[in-house]
Amino acid sequence: MIALSETTNNFLYELCKKYRNDAHELINVLHEAQEILGYLPVEVQHKIASELNIPDAKVYGVVTFYSFFTMIPRGKFNISICMGTACYVKGNELILDEFKRRLSIKVGETTKDGIFTLSTLRCVGACSLAPVVSIGDKVFGNVTPLQVKKIIDEYVEKAEEMH
């Protein structure tokens, strides 16, 4: 295992302390850790396990069970394509294919420049807008394959601004 940086170590220590080092809060702890760190590598899980005084296997079991958690670094922006019934029927598979083609990645992968991660999910509760694509907090409705390039460009620009 690689040693965690002091900042990460302290962050995880404080995070677990905030939840009273209570093992029942594991999912909340993982949630916040991923929000700040972007992903949950082995070292982070090990640190959380020892702070909450539970076996590594327990943390690893939870991380691998929920598709929300990831052990590989995510891009700056996570593009989620809804594959719920409504969106699927409205042709979101075509949208997904277009994202895959333009970004040259598969579902679950991150672009080489670290900007985008592509994922699918089941229903965001906006079926009337189907097909739906969500990026961060923003939801795009009634998406057509022609819009895909525009969406990508918009976020590439945002990523540049963030630099």
């Binding site: 539970i54 076996p55 590594d56 069970f65």
Partner: protein, 583 residues
């Protein structure tokens, strides 16, 4: 409180609170089950309701119910073998089998596999379902072999590892079809917190978890004319080996086992019980020294002293309680004491190099395979113990070599390392090490002979036991735990200063070594452990010498070689040190 129920058209009155499965068992109806397992006397139960083999039909309910986790209710009308139930049960099993490697002919669990017997019992002759198969990495270690592709996700191992042993090594990861039981981060067992207690192996219904088979190494060593091959047998082996040859559980086969080992070609057949007597001399002396210093007010001395015979227990505290490494006795386990005396004293007697002496152990344990490979038990790369076979492996080796154990006449162990006392025999059961230690420590401390040699208060199967033994006016408080979860409780008490014991015995496996991970499979029948325990008590009773310090060969070993217990040489050869393995 009783409830009236009908099972397969016959009315019964059964106690409230039972599950349908238990109630049926009580009235002689054996509903088949796979994931379910209950060891009554030691409070171990696994009922995740995962396999659905035990489904039954309850009149008035739309769905079939899993009998292992459905409680009986008054007026319940239960059918355990209706057409619907039989069809469902067979479909469930066929679906499980559709994702199971059909390797029965070459599987090491063949003949002992619960899944195989279930397929036979339900008369499965064809599997109607074909599809994707799980592909997971297999994992080996010095002691345990893992093949997750043979796993049926019954969760028995997970329950043993987490709830009973509180080791926390094995857990289910991923979900759905991709679920697999593995150590954290898909590491190998050797790089995980695994203690190699082998209780996962003891309860696994299939060939997913087995011991590493080393019988071939023994056959090779025995056929090498340049090697002198000697064998030691642990106390618990003689109480269980007979089961591999169709004998009733609890049948002692000490003499037949010796005869079989001689026929296999071992040059000397010795007894680990001899080394157990040696352990008592060292551990008992250490205990008395610590006690004396404590009574004289020395605050540096740590009490209670903990036994250190069990390699899985040693692993457990090295991983989980590294702040308390100075509490256990430093005495090596009997297996390792035997090995080091064999490779020094006995090799000298035979006038051969240690490289040409092969020491084989027969153990009820898989952790002993790991222990023998520890670096501190080697000299110039040559291990004190070369090969460890479990009781099950010895059974296979005897069969491989065309020996009918049951037809053999009893034979005696060889000397000098085959002479043992009743105290040494007791090492095989929970409470036995401390009983043996008390017999010797009492007499060494008081200088008086014991009036009553059997300590009933230390015996039995309760998870945690305690007793106060009167050392001629000095009350010695003794604790006993078997199962690592119980050991954890005692350790946490010591850490928080609440413990009031002088000495504690700990064995990792429920029941002690008689329930070890290398013993013939108990298939969930805990009464087997009790019978093995009783047979060790009877072997102790049958011995003329029952106290370790009266073993004439131990006395002469100290006189001719070691000097005295805890002498410099004894320290060098018979004691060890522990490591912090937390990170």
């Amino acid at each position: 409180m009783k409830v009236k129920i009908t099972i397969d058209n016959i009315q019964h009155s059964v106690p409230r609170g039972l599950t349908v499965l238990e109630a049926a068992h009580k009235v002689g109806v054996e509903i088949p089950s796979l994931c379910y397992m209950k060891l009554h006397d030691i409070n171990i139960e696994n009922k995740p309701g995962a396999c659905r083999i035990c489904v039954v039909e309850v009149k008035g309910r739309k769905n079939l119910v899993p009998s292992c986790c459905t409680e009986v209710e008054d007026g319940m009308d239960i059918h355990t073998h209706s057409l619907r139930v039989i069809n469902a049960r067979r479909t469930v099993l066929e679906l499980i089998l559709s994702n199971h490697p059909a390797e029965c002919l070459t599987c090491s669990k063949s003949g002992n596999c619960d899944l195989q017997s279930m397929a036979d019992r339900l008369g499965i002759r064809e599997i109607h379902y074909q599809g994707e198969k799980s592909v997971n990495r297999k994992g080996n270690s010095p002691a345990i072999s893992r093949d997750p592709n043979k796993c049926i996700l019954c969760r028995r191992c997970e329950m043993m590892c987490n709830e009973v042993q509180t080791v926390g090594c094995l857990g289910a990861v991923n979900r759905g079809f991709h679920s697999v039981v593995t150590p954290a981060f898909d590491k190998d067992l050797i790089n995980s917190v695994c203690t190699f207690c082998g209780q996962c192996v003891a309860v696994c219904p299939t060939g997913a978890l087995t011991e590493i088979d080393e019988t071939a190494k023994v056959v090779r060593a025995l056929s090498d004319p340049t090697k002198t091959v000697i064998v030691q047998t642990a106390p618990a082996v003689r109480a269980a080996l007979g089961e591999e040859f169709g004998n009733e559980p609890g049948t002692l086969v000490t003499g037949k086992m010796v005869a079989a080992l001689r026929r296999l070609g071992f040059h000397y057949v010795f007894d680990t019980d001899f080394a157990a007597d040696l352990t008592i001399m060292e551990e008992g002396t250490e205990m008395l020294r610590r006690l004396k210093a404590h009574l004289e007010g020395d605050e540096n001395v740590k009490l209670p002293i903990l036994t250190s015979c069990c390699p899985s227990w040693v692993n457990f505290f090295e991983y989980q309680f590294p702040d308390m490494l100075d509490i256990p006795s430093t005495a090596r386990s009997p297996q390792q004491m035997f090995g080091v005396i064999a490779k020094t004293y006995f090799a000298d007697l035979l006038k051969i190099e240690r490289q040409n002496l092969v020491v084989v152990s027969i153990m009820p344990c898989v952790a002993k395979k790991y222990e023998r490979a520890r670096k501190e038990f080697q000299q110039d790369g040559n291990s004190d113990v070369d090969i460890v076979l479990t009781t099950r492996e010895l059974g296979r080796l005897i069969k491989l070599c065309n020996i009918d154990l049951n037809a053999l006449e009893d034979e005696e162990f060889d000397q000098p390392m085959g002479e043992s006392t009743g105290a040494g025999v007791l090492f095989g059961t929970t409470g036995g090490v401390i009983e043996a230690a008390v017999r010797t420590a009492y007499e060494l401390h008081t200088g008086k002979p014991l009036e009553k040699i059997e300590f009933e208060e230390l015996r039995g199967m309760d998870n945690l036991r305690e007793a106060t033994i009167d050392f001629d006016g000095l009350p010695i408080r003794i604790g006993i735990a078997h199962g690592l979860g119980n050991a954890r409780k005692l350790l946490e008490d010591i850490r928080s200063g609440k413990s009031h014991f002088h000495a504690i015995e700990i064995m990792s496996c429920p029941g002690g070594c008689i329930g070890g991970g290398g013993q013939p499979y108990h298939h969930g029948h805990s009464e087997i452990l009790k019978k093995r325990q009783l047979s060790l008590y009877s072997e102790d009773k049958s011995k003329t010498i029952r106290k370790s310090h009266e073993n004439p060969f131990i006395i002469s070993l100290y006189k001719n070689f070691l000097g005295a217990p805890m002498s410099n040489l004894a320290h060098l050869l018979l004691h060890t040190h522990y490591f912090d393995k937390k990170d």
